[in-house]
């Protein structure tokens, strides 16, 4: 028996899962819309560089944009068709800003580019990493951190994040049930790349069907399936690491410093598809759930506007809001024209409750319910006071940046205080202060250098003048002076005449 079996992290909550509403039917297969809109930037880091132009015909899987820096990955055509235009379009981001997108009009032939299997076992590590980079592999759990960076560290144990702890979201669960072999192959390949001796799949005990499938099909003794209790947020990287290994690390620390690396289910399936079938990342599983007639999971082409899926599920009558992500950490999307991206795991339809319950925001009574549920073991009520009173230095003392914004504190707050919003505000204030501080430093440095330069130039000029004067022979100097004198006399004479 594993001694860590009884481990559970501090705090956390057990909200209603609402998972079974979207797991009744299998994952619906891809359908091709009339227009695909692909945001250029779909990952952490620099946006890739466009290599196609308007009017080009592209094949399915063809690269549309190539990595522009080390922290950048490629973008590929999800189907064959024509590049209609390259223009600004709303992207799924809390800021609700528009970004540059590629508009691809499918020709509905769905014609693949020539796929080739990548023999990763006989490739050098750098070449494997380059394949990941070129083929657009990013963390599909939502953070979209480029996979080739994470895969470059050498570690002991690969941890698979199959916790999927947020209510409503079921995309990993369904993918595990239906793509079990592909997933296990992905784990195998990732272990090979990382040099890991074993892998642990951390999965919440509410996903019985996926667990059964995994146990049935897992032939590899190096892959352990670890069932963890269903407590939100068990799927947070640091919490999961603790649940499966007993290791507690702080927010700024990386699991790879301790011999662990954590990959998401979707990422591993993409890895398998890349190395076994030679397919870049062009689709992912997305859960469409909430206030829909028939919630479902879809194998969605990247770039498909979400309205297609919402129509397929059937939106119920009444006002609603579209949330990307789960109910705990998701954010609102402005409309259904927004398209599927690599980071989109779930779209949640929330009905607008016209008759709000007892939701008036009351003062904090320091009941410390938030302390009891905080998985980062922070003091949310203190952070709230300090954020509210703009004592940002104090928030740093109380480790504001270890807050993972999981929302447990807001969830339990009996005074209905939107605590997480306060932390987000404080964090952004601190960051912008830091940036302006850095700018001020740079400006000061520049000014100091300018003064130094002016000073230097002055002395240099003085030196040069002195040198020049020294070089001119005496006779010539006299002659020059006489000439000047004569000129002055002439001028004076002219003046008198006038």
């Amino acid at each position: 028996m594993n001694i860590f079996n009884k481990l559970s992290f501090h705090g956390g909550i057990k909200p209603q899962g609402n998972k079974n509403i979207s797991t009744k039917n299998p994952i619906k297969k891809i359908f091709i819309p009339d227009m695909l809109i692909l945001p250029l930037r779909q990952s952490v880091g620099k946006a890739p560089k466009l290599i196609v132009s308007e009017g080009d015909y592209v094949l399915k899987g063809q690269q549309l944009a190539k990595p522009s820096s080390n922290l950048s990955v490629g973008i590929h055509a999800p189907t064959s068709g024509y590049i209609k235009r390259i223009a600004m379009h709303p992207v799924p981001h809390p800021s609700m800003l528009n970004e540059e997108c590629i508009f691809l009009e499918p020709d509905h032939k769905d014609q693949w580019i020539k796929k080739k299997v990548i023999d990763y076992k006989n490739l050098k590590l750098e070449e494997v990493l380059e394949q990941l980079r070129q083929n657009g592999l990013v963390g599909m759990g939502g953070a979209t951190f480029p996979t080739h960076i994470k895969a470059s560290s050498k570690i002991e144990t690969l941890i698979v994040n199959a916790a999927e702890c947020e209510p409503f979201i079921t995309c990993d669960d369904m993918a595990l049930r239906e793509k079990t072999e592909e997933f296990l192959t992905g784990v195998d390949i990732a272990m090979h790349i990382l040099g890991a001796k074993k892998a642990i799949i951390g999965i919440e005990d509410n996903k019985q069907e996926a667990i059964t499938e995994l146990q049935k099909k897992n032939q590899n003794s190096k892959i352990e399936i670890k069932i963890i209790p269903t407590v939100y947020p068990s799927g947070d990287e640091k919490r999961l690491l603790f649940l499966v290994s007993g290791l507690k690390i702080k927010k700024m620390d990386r699991p790879s410093n301790h011999g662990f690396q954590i990959f998401n289910v979707g990422t591993l399936i993409s890895i398998a598809r890349l190395f076994i079938h030679g397919e870049p990342v062009i689709s992912r599983v997305v859960t469409f759930t909430g206030n829909l007639k028939q919630p479902n999971n879809f194998e969605a082409l990247i770039g498909t506007p979400i309205k297609y899926f919402l129509n397929d599920c059937g939106i119920k009558e009444g006002d609603h809001q579209i949330i990307m992500g789960g109910p705990m950490m998701g954010f609102e999307l402005q409309n259904s024209e927004i398209t599927v991206t690599k980071s989109m795991n779930c779209v949640l339809i929330k009905r607008n409750e016209t008759q709000s319950k007892d939701t008036s925001i009351m003062p904090c009574i320091r009941c410390s319910r938030c302390v009891e549920v905080c998985p980062a073991e922070l003091q949310p009520q203190e952070l709230y006071w300090f954020s509210k009173s703009k004592q940002f230095e104090k928030t740093l003392d109380y480790k504001l940046f270890d807050c993972i914004e999981c929302g447990c504190c807001s969830y339990v707050c009996p005074s209905n205080i939107p605590l997480v919003s306060y932390y987000r505000y404080a964090k952004s204030e601190i960051r912008s202060e830091e940036i302006s501080g850095e700018r001020a430093d740079i400006a000061r440095d520049r000014n100091e250098f300018r003064l130094f330069r002016l000073d230097r130039e002055k002395t240099e000029r003085a030196e040069r003048n002195a040198q020049r004067r020294a070089q001119i022979p005496d006779a010539e100097k006299k002659k020059l002076i006489e000439e000047k004198k004569a000129a002055i006399d002439m001028a004076l004479k002219d003046k008198e005449e006038i």
């Binding site: 702080k250 950490m329 009351m362 320091r366 410390s368 203190e382 807001s410 009996p414 919003s421």
Partner: protein
Amino acid sequence: MISSPIIKESDSVSFVMSHVFFALIPSLLIYIYFFGYGILGNLIFGVTLGVLFEYLCLKLRNISAKPFLLDGSTIVTCWLLIISIPSGSPWWIILIGVFSAIVIAKHIYGGLGSNIFNPAMIGYAILLISFPAMMTNWEVSNSLGLNNFLNLKNLFNLFHVQLISNIDAVSSATPLDNIKTYLFLNADNLNPNNFPNYEIFNPRSIINISYFAGGLYLLHKKIISWHLPITLIITVILFSSFMSLIDANKFMGPIHHLLNGAVILGAFFILTDPVTSPTTKRGKIIFAILIGIITLTIRNFGGYPDGIAFAVIFMNIWVPLIEKFTQPKVFGY
């Protein structure tokens, strides 16, 4: 624009408070059983006054009053104050007490969540210092038992109270006060565990036991954590045992300390006021230990029969400092 999380647990402040009322109801019934409806009249009067003061303060402070009146915190404060003072108290005593608690201790310091001192204890302390004779003269149980439930006339006692000189006819000092005076007068020659006219299970100790039961209910419902009440009770037991070991003729033993006075009420209902107590676990334990020690010190050596109120108010001052030095470790540090 909405921001996550978009789901919410249904518990609210008023939900918490309703559990507190539920925990206090049995002791109220026992109180009426032994002493008549006087306490109920006081409660109705005091709570009405408290809500009125709360409403006026909120209006003056330009705050929408409805959610604050519905959250129940004012009612709990007034309730705790009223059951701490003799039920034979006249209406103006209640008026001064409630005014001190709600207007001075709560709203002048910024209202719900911002008060430094426990409002009920400020109200009680002001009364105790200003009117010591009245505050230590408690009604006598007329052992009418169930008949007390029929005698509705008692409800209006607060408006009929005689002048202080006549009070002795219907009231007496509390057992705690009696024992203290007794120990003081007969310091050398008697067994302190066998006082005249005193039974361990007197009406007041039975009410205290019902507070204990209510407290256990709150613990069970996870409305309060164990840290404050259990630490206080253990401190009182250990410290009083220690004192009575030193001199059993001068100092009462733990049973008397727990069953008399306000230790049990304080442990479960007064210390646990979240606004004025520390939020950290270690802080709660330190807070409760010090309150226990101060209370027993006042009881054993001070001029007042009980010391919970003063101990709580004194320790309220230290809460920010206690919290500062008892911060728990953050995950991963």
